[in-house]
Amino acid sequence: MSQPWLRNRNHLFALCNLRTDGRKASEIRRMRFQMGVVEQVAGSALVEMGLTAVLATVTGPTECLRRADELPDRAVLQVHFAAAPFCTADRKHVPTNDRRFLEAARLVQRALEASIFLHLYPRSLIQIHITILSEDGGRLCAAINAASCAVVHAGLAVKDIVCACAAGGVDPVLIDLNRREEIDNINMACAMLPQRGTIVLSQCEARLPSVEALDRVLETAMDGCRAVFAVMEAAIRENAALQWSSKRGKAIVALSETNVV
């Protein structure tokens, strides 16, 4: 098998069960959650999954800009997706009407609609702005996690905290792929309501070899979502505790680093 085109790309894995960044197959990247990073909006969160960093802000519920957009029985959820020019190695302007961003915005919107009690805010508008600050794989998952955190920070009523994580590759199934792994492998993004076990999004653009492989990948992605939830929940609780004590005048909200690992 000396032909390079016949070669398995996960060569390191066969030698020591480690991925190219030193993780095992079943380990997610280091995650950090910061909430309340932007003061002017109702809710904001900065989420880092490895080197991917996403900022989400929530405004609303507010009045709709145009009367015609209003819905009588529930709020309208709008998601805007953008990327900073410096988010990839090659610095370039990314137009906001890029088809991939419109699609991602729609996916985030659908995922969050499953969780937010929109009927509690009739005739109003909730806007979520997502900005990719740095991109290293798992963009969609990080965006959903950030949006979900920001929604919680804004104090909107939700059924559950939406968590997202990707899984991919088939043999072995890798979890939370970084950019390099995304190039070589199948990648399936998955979002769920972890405490209910409901999948609200799963998206895969590659061809999976079999139904059985789909099962395994999806199962792994769901486990990943639960792991993300554990970290996210801790961050939210910590933030809530800080706010609680600051309200009672016992502490000052520290906006700098709330490092939860």
Partner: protein, 991 residues
């Protein structure tokens, strides 16, 4: 790094929480096309649960003997490490250069060097440089040894050994050396009482070694080992790193220095340089295929200096020459060597395929001055392809140096002061230049076929340097030469690796209808196979029934190889790499393991077998009414030979004999199909092939026979063509851009010109406007007195055409899919999946088209398909050449046995160029040998118009014209070092 850390150390698989101890970023600043500076960040997780590296343990539960690769296990504690290490032996840590150049030492040291540690940094660097060595290292690491303990150490992720990249000035190479030294230090510190040896040939690295371990060069350590283990002889295996040439002439570099790796990648990224694989047919000419956007172009490299030490298969960086140095497309690539070969050989069947045809790549570019062939020069080597080569040593000749080899040997050979000798090794592979070899055993190696590994090619050395690996055996011995010719044509001939054998179904695999849901049971049909006698791999079988409505049902059943060879398995990859079975005179090298080739897949008679069937309904006048494709299970009632089938065709009608009736009906239909094909312009071509009769014990040739072509052969061929064409249409309809097809380009007019002029000189005309006209004119070209002339013309016109080739339908326009020889718009190979990989692909495509199995993922990638087709074409060609070389070898044995023979021969070509040695080319039909006859006449009269030469012979004056029949003498001539060649001498003219 608190709770998570502990949980991650104890659990194996089910912990999902973020495990990171520290993450860190690495910054790179490569320059892109427009000179932009980029910042690239990657992260790496450092771990403290890696213990003392990985070892490989046999964890299989099924106790398969053939299992050789273990699964990685982490050595978590010191006692475990101490238990694994072989006692009272030092631990050897190797660096990149030792892996790259001294692999033979590491492999053969065995028990003497039992505890081996390979740091990941070294292995990754090795992967970037030489894939072959990387494979060997991984194999060495992962195989389960009794007497060795091999450890892989993932040093970039280990907290104890990872190195910060803080200083700007340090080069990546120095940093990697530092990393490897840390691994040695880690073992040195954690293993008190055990000596740790760090092997490196880099003096600077040895000087920086700390005191907790001992740094040594490979040569030093081998000397130590040889003192303690007297039986060991490793010193010949130690690779030569610096020029072993003399001290006096190493000042002036002969070649330009290669660019550094960073300069190369910058040049390639900025578009100044191109990257590609160098391919050559001999050491005078070479091509590099480069990509310009989507399109691939082959760049010609001319001459030693432009070639700059690159050998066949190297990944190189090439700079294009300015337009003024490009050569015109009409100028044929330099093929001087072909004309110079003095010896006779086996007649070839088709023209040499050009590079463009082999790999579907263009080698000209249209510019203002017309089509020009781009040229370029190699400026650096991205990855070396130094593979082992077999061949023999030539030495200084005592008298006058006759051959090219002896001249080189005389010039380069010398004695070294330390008792070794530098001698010149000539690989049998003509693509590789001679190799300088330093050895202590020159006299012992002389006259032997040996294997040599190439080590390096310094700029001041005329030829590359290498070291001796092993001896195959005495030159001229049949088995030795067979192995050499396999090496020469790069034909994989190792036994199948265990990973491949592990994919085989169990020995007691039962073929039954229950075992295979979704198959149609066709066991009631009277299926029979027709093959040459003694055929073991029967891949096709036929049946023919009369339907109630008077039509015929005809079925072609092909062995269902893809039932056993699942896509992406080790067996599939191995088969894709081998691409074809190779048939030599005395042995067969299979594409698939023997259990499949000769048993489970082979459609033997009286057993149930899985098949892929194509079923037609054909009206009695030969019109196809409908066609159906099925995965089936069949039961062959007879395995006929061509001779038996022919006797069925010839015998009178007997309605009670099912077999005879079926064969007769098939023969009738085949005649109709054939007529239709010929009307459409299919060519009937001829081949000069012959067959050896081998002695059953010694396998030495005892006689030569021509292939008898019976109507039964034509019958089978006709139905196989029909099946291939039908399947090609089917898969093409379903997968218009992904089908594997076979095309045969229309011949180039200029190739035919010599043949047309020769035919004219004996009053025959050949019209090559299209295949129909060519077929008709060949039929008309008869010489009453000698029917063989017609066959000769057919052989020669085949040789004016390039061979057919595989390609992926998305790569070429539909008009280029045409198969000229068969006059078919589309054609593919479907009928021999046991021995050809193209057929395996087509089976998968067909299965996907009829919805019985999904299309494997890689078959839907166009670039994969391109590479696959290129590989199939290359292997197919190599298998043909090897087959021919094997025939040539047996011809030599045949003629050397009882001396020379006299035979009739036909003159194919007369050399009428002024100033050339008087000679002409003949073909000996009885042996299928073609060769040049040299005349020792001083005065020769040449008549180029008539293709005739005349000279004064010893007794009378002679005159030889093209297509004349002459009497020649065939004999074997001995050369230096037990090499032999076949010689043809002119005796007299026959009238």
């Amino acid at each position: 790094m608190n709770d998570d850390e502990t949980s991650c150390a104890e659990g194996e698989e089910d912990i999902r929480a973020a495990p990171s101890l520290y993450t860190r970023s690495t910054y790179y600043r490569p320059t892109m096309k427009r000179g932009k500076i980029l910042k690239q960040v990657t992260e790496r997780y450092l771990r403290d649960d890696l213990g003392y590296g990985c070892y490989y343990k046999d964890t299989s539960t099924d106790n398969r003997v053939d299992r050789v690769h273990g699964t990685p296990q982490i050595i978590s504690s010191l006692p475990e490490l101490q238990r694994l290490l072989k006692p009272s032996q030092p631990v050897v840590v190797v660096d990149t250069n030792v892996l790259l150049h001294q692999m033979d030492v590491l492999q053969q040291a065995g028990k003497a060097m039992p505890n081996l540690v390979v740091p990941q940094t070294a292995l990754e660097e090795c992967r970037n440089h030489r894939m072959v060595i990387y494979d060997q290292t991984v194999d060495l690491l992962r195989s389960i040894h009794k007497e060795r303990c091999t450890i892989f150490f993932p040093d970039p992720y280990h907290t104890a050994t990872s190195v910060e990249e803080k200083e700007e000035g340090i080069s990546p190479n120095d940093l990697n050396d530092e990393r490897i030294r840390r691994v040695a230090e880690f073992y040195g510190k954690s293993l008190p009482g055990v000596s740790v040896i760090f092997l490196t040939d880099d003096v600077a690295s040895r000087e920086k070694a700390s005191r907790s371990y001992q740094a040594m060069s490979v040569r030093q350590y081998v000397q130590v080992l040889e003192q303690t283990n007297p039986g060991l002889s490793l010193s010949d295996l130690v690779a030569a790193q610096t020029s072993v040439l003399s001290n006096e002439e190493d000042e002036a570099p002969l070649y330009e220095t290669h660019l550094e790796a960073t300069a190369l990648s910058r040049g390639i990224q900025s578009g100044k340089l191109y990257r590609g694989v160098l391919r050559s047919s001999d050491w005078n000419t070479a091509h590099v295929t480069i990509r310009r956007g989507d399109e691939r172009v082959a760049v010609t490299v001319q001459g030693d200096l432009d070639r700059n030490r690159a050998v066949d298969g190297d990944v190189v960086a090439i700079a294009l020459h300015p337009l003024t140095k490009w050569i015109s497309s009409a100028a044929a690539p330099v093929t001087s060597s072909v004309k110079d070969t003095p010896s006779a050989g086996i007649a070839s069947e088709t023209a040499e395929p050009t590079l463009a045809e082999m790999s579907n790549v263009r080698d000209t570019i249209a510019v203002e001055q017309g089509e020009l062939r781009p040229t370029g020069k190699i400026v650096g080597i991205v990855r070396r392809n130094f593979e082992n080569q077999s061949g023999s040593i030539f030495t200084k000749s005592s008298g006058k140096a006759d051959s090219e080899q002896e001249k080189i040997a005389t010039k380069m050979e010398r004695e070294n002061p330390d008792g070794t000798a530098t001698c010149v090794f000539f690989p049998v592979n003509k693509k590789i230049p001679p190799v300088l070899l330093r050895t202590t055993q020159r006299d012992r190696l002389f006259g032997q076929r040996i294997v040599v590994s190439l080590d390096s090619w310094p700029a001041n050395s005329r030829y590359p340097l290498g070291h001796y690996v092993r001896t195959i055996g005495p030159a001229g011995d049949k088995d030795v030469e067979t192995e050499v010719l396999l090496q020469q044509h790069d034909i994989p001939h190792e036994p199948f690796p265990a990973a491949v054998l592990a994919c085989l179904p169990p020995e007691d695999y039962k073929i039954s209808a229950e075992n295979s849901p979704g198959r149609v049971d066709l066991r009631h049909l009277p299926v029979l196979s027709i093959d040459p006698p003694g055929c073991k791999d029967i891949d096709d079988a036929l049946h023919c029934l009369v339907l109630p409505n008077g039509n015929y049902q005809v079925g072609v059943h092909i062995a269902d190889v893809t039932h056993y060879v699942k896509p992406g398995t080790a067996m599939d990859l191995e088969a894709a790499n081998r691409s074809t079975s190779t048939y030599l005179v005395n042995k067969r090298l299979d594409m698939l393991p023997a259990l499949l080739t000769t048993d489970l897949c082979s459609l033997k008679c009286n057993v149930d077998r899985y098949a892929f069937s194509v079923l037609w309904e054909v009206s009695p006048d030969g019109n196809i009414i409908q066609v159906d494709f099925q995965k089936s299970i069949i039961h062959s009632i007879a395995a006929l030979t061509y001779q038996q089938a022919q006797s069925f065709i010839d015998q009178p009608d007997d309605p009670t004999d099912i077999q005879a009736c079926a064969v007769k009906r098939l023969a009738v239909l085949a005649r109709k199909f054939r007529q239709r094909r010929i009307d459409a312009g299919a060519l009937t071509l001829a081949s000069p092939e012959v067959k050896f009769v081998l002695d059953s014990e010694s396998l030495n040739p005892t006689d030569v026979q021509a292939y008898a072509l019976l109507e039964a052969n034509a019958l089978v061929e006709e139905f196989m063509l029909l099946a291939n064409v039908t399947v090609a249409k089917k898969i093409l309809r379903q997968y218009p851009t992904l089908s594997v097809l076979r095309r045969h380009p229309a011949p180039n007019r200029s190739m035919f010109d010599p043949l047309i002029s020769k035919a004219q000189s004996i009053g025959l005309s050949i019209n090559i406007e299209d295949s129909k006209k060519l077929a008709d004119s060949l039929d008309a070209a008869q010489v009453k007195s000698d029917p063989y002339i017609n066959k000769l013309l057919r052989i020669l016109s085949t040789r004016c055409m390039s061979p057919a080739q595989y390609f992926c339908s998305g790569e070429l326009r539909a008009s280029e899919w045409h198969h000229y020889g068969l006059a078919a718009p589309v054609y593919t190979h479907f009928t021999s999946p046991i021995r050809r990989y193209a057929d395996v692909c087509v089976h998968r495509l067909l299965a996907a088209s009829i919805n019985v199995a999904p299309l494997p993922q890689h078959l839907s990638s166009k670039s994969y398909m391109h590479d696959l087709c290129t590989n199939m074409n290359r292997r197919h060609r190599a298998a043909q050449l090897a087959g021919r070389a094997s025939v040539q070898l047996h011809t030599l044995i045949y003629f050397s046995g009882d001396g020379a023979k006299e035979e009739d021969a036909y003159v194919l070509d007369v050399d009428t160029d002024k100033g050339s040695d008087p000679s002409f080319t003949v073909m000996v039909p009885r042996y299928g040998i073609e060769g040049r006859v040299r005349l020792d006449a001083a005065e020769v009269e040449r008549f180029p118009e008539e293709h005739r030469i005349a000279w004064a012979g010893k007794t009378k004056s002679c005159s030889v014209k093209v297509f004349d029949k002459v009497r020649v003498r065939l004999s074997v001539r001995e050369m230096q070092g037990d090499q032999r060649e076949l010689a043809i001498d002119f005796i007299e003219q026959k009238l």
